[in-house]
Symmetry: C2
Subunit: 273 residues, 2 copies
C-alpha cells in the first residue's frame, strides 16, 4: 500500500506522451490506473492499446470521451450518435466500463439552450441500450458554466443528476470534476444525491487568476478548491473507484513529463488522498 491505490493518470494531463509512454510510466511508478483519450488510442492503435493495457497490468478507469450531441440537423445528430457508438465499442475493447460524456454546446447558429439540452437527453436515451449490451456505463460530466455555449449545455451536478434520474438506467451516471463544480453552493447536497451514480471523480485545481479558459487548470494544491473535502464527500456518497488527475494546462504540458508525473503523485497524496 503506497497510498496511490485509487490514483489514475488521465492522459490529458501529460500530452507529450502517447499511450505507450503513459502506460509504461504509470506501471513503473506503481500507479494502478490510467484514463485514455480516443485520439491517443487512435494514434497507437485500438487493439494494440488494449493488448498493452492487458500486459501491463494497468487498469483503465475511463475512456475520454463521448458526447457533443447537439447539432443543427438530424443528419448531424445521427453522425454524433454513430461516433458515440464507436466510442462505446472502443471502451469495451479497451476494457473500461466507463465512457465519459462531454455533452456538447449549442448547435451552430442556435441560442436555444433548452433545445440543446433536449438533444442531449434524447441522444443518451438512444445510446443506452447499445452501451448496456457492451457493459459500458455513460458518465455525464457537467462542465463549468463558462463552457455552456461551446462544450456542454449540462452545467451543474444538479442538472446531471436530474438527467440521470429521468433516464433511470443502471448504466447512466455522472463524472464529478472538481474544476467544473467546486463553485456551486449546492455541490455537497448534489454529491450526496448522486449515490451509486458516481462513475468517476476528477481532481485538479482552480487557479487565481485563471490563466486560460480551457487550459488554465491547476495542479492540486496550487489553487483554491477544497479537494480533500470534495473527495471525502464523494467517498461519503459511496464512491470507492479510481480518482483521475485531469489537468489541462499549457505550462504543465510544456514541462518534463516525468517531473509532472512525480508532481501528480506528490500532490495527490498531499491534497486529495
Amino acid at each position: 500500500m503506497n497510498g496511490l491505490e485509487r490514483l489514475s493518470l488521465n492522459q490529458a494531463t501529460i500530452r507529450a506522451w502517447g499511450v505507450r509512454e503513459a502506460v509504461a510510466a504509470c506501471a513503473q511508478r506503481g500507479i494502478a490506473w490510467i484514463s485514455l483519450w480516443r485520439d491517443k488510442v487512435n494514434e497507437y492503435g485500438l487493439e494494440r492499446s488494449a493488448a498493452l493495457l492487458r500486459s501491463s497490468g494497468l487498469r483503465i478507469s475511463s475512456l475520454c470521451r463521448g458526447g457533443f450531441f447537439p447539432a443543427p440537423t438530424e443528419a448531424g445528430r445521427k453522425l454524433a450518435l454513430d461516433d458515440n457508438r464507436r466510442a462505446i465499442d472502443e471502451a469495451a475493447t479497451l476494457g473500461t466500463d466507463t465512457l465519459v460524456l462531454v455533452c456538447g454546446g449549442l448547435p451552430a447558429g442556435s441560442r436555444d439552450l433548452s433545445g440543446a439540452r433536449q438533444m442531449v437527453e434524447a441522444a443518451i436515451a438512444e445510446l443506452l441500450p447499445y452501451a448496456a449490451e457492451r457493459g459500458v456505463r455513460l458518465a455525464i460530466e457537467p462542465l463549468h458554466p463558462m463552457f455552456a455555449a461551446d462544450r456542454s449545455v449540462i452545467t451543474s451536478l444538479a442538472q446531471a443528476n436530474e438527467l440521470a434520474e429521468r433516464l433511470a438506467a443502471d448504466m447512466v451516471g455522472v463524472t464529478i470534476d472538481a474544476y467544473h463544480i467546486w463553485w456551486d453552493p449546492a455541490v455537497y447536497r448534489e454529491i450526496s444525491r448522486c449515490g451509486s451514480r458516481i462513475f468517476g471523480f476528477h481532481v485538479n485545481d482552480w487557479l487565481v487568476p485563471t490563466p486560460d479558459i480551457l487550459a488554465g487548470r491547476g495542479m492540486m494544491g496550487d489553487g483554491v478548491i477544497e479537494l480533500r473535502r470534495l473527495r471525502q464527500a464523494v467517498d461519503g456518497a459511496g464512491y470507492r473507484g479510481p480518482i483521475e488527475v485531469e489537468i489541462f494546462n499549457h505550462e504543465l504540458w510544456a514541462r518534463n513529463p516525468d517531473e509532472v508525473l512525480e508532481l501528480v503523485m506528490e500532490r495527490y497524496l498531499r491534497e486529495v488522498a
Copy 2:
C-alpha cells in the same frame, strides 16, 4: 416615444468617457438613464456629478458598486463595511435608489467558500439599516461562477434569491445580469421567484469563443444569449425599471465612444426592447 425609455447606459461600457462626457452624450441622444461607477464619480466629484445629473434631467439607474465583503480579518471586514457605507451615501447624494453589490470572492489565502458566503450575508445584514435610512436599496448581483474565487462567491440567481429571502427586507434584492446567469437551467424559474426583488437588469452578450474572462463580454446580438426572452421573463416577474447595457470589452473600449453609443442604442432596440 423612441423605444429607448428603459435604456440605461452603464458607464463601464464606454470607459473613455468621464461623468461629464457620458451624461452629455446620453442627454443629447434622448437616453433617459445612466448608471455611474464610483471611480468615475470620484474623478469628476460627487457633488458636481449630482448637480450635473439634476441639471441634465438624466436619471441614474444605479451606482456601481459596493460589495467585496469577505476579508481574512475582522479589521478587513470592517474596512469593507465602511467603504460600503460611503457607497450608500454616494448613491443617496447622486439620487439613485440602487447600489449594486458585487459581493466579493474568497478572502486571501482561504479556500472556504461557505465561510466567505457567511461573511457576505453578515455584511449585508449589517448594512441594511444604514441603507434603509438613506433610501438606498442593496442589489445583490450574482456573478458568473468563473468569478467565484476572486469577485463573487454568490454565483447563481437561486443563491442570491435565497440570500435576499433570508434577509427578508424591502431594501435587499437582486440585479440580474444576462452574462452572469444565462447558462443556468433554473434561470427562468429563479427570475419568476425574484418577483418584486428585481432591482436591476443588465444586458450584454456571451461571445463564442470568449476572448477574455473579465473583459470579453459582447455587444447584444453578437453572442448566444436569448436576450429578448430574458427581458420578457424579467418583465413577466413584474420589473418595469431601467435596463442597463453593461459591457466589459477591450475591443469596444478601444473604439470611438460615439460609435459605441450608437451601436448600444441600435442593438438594444433590435435585441432587447
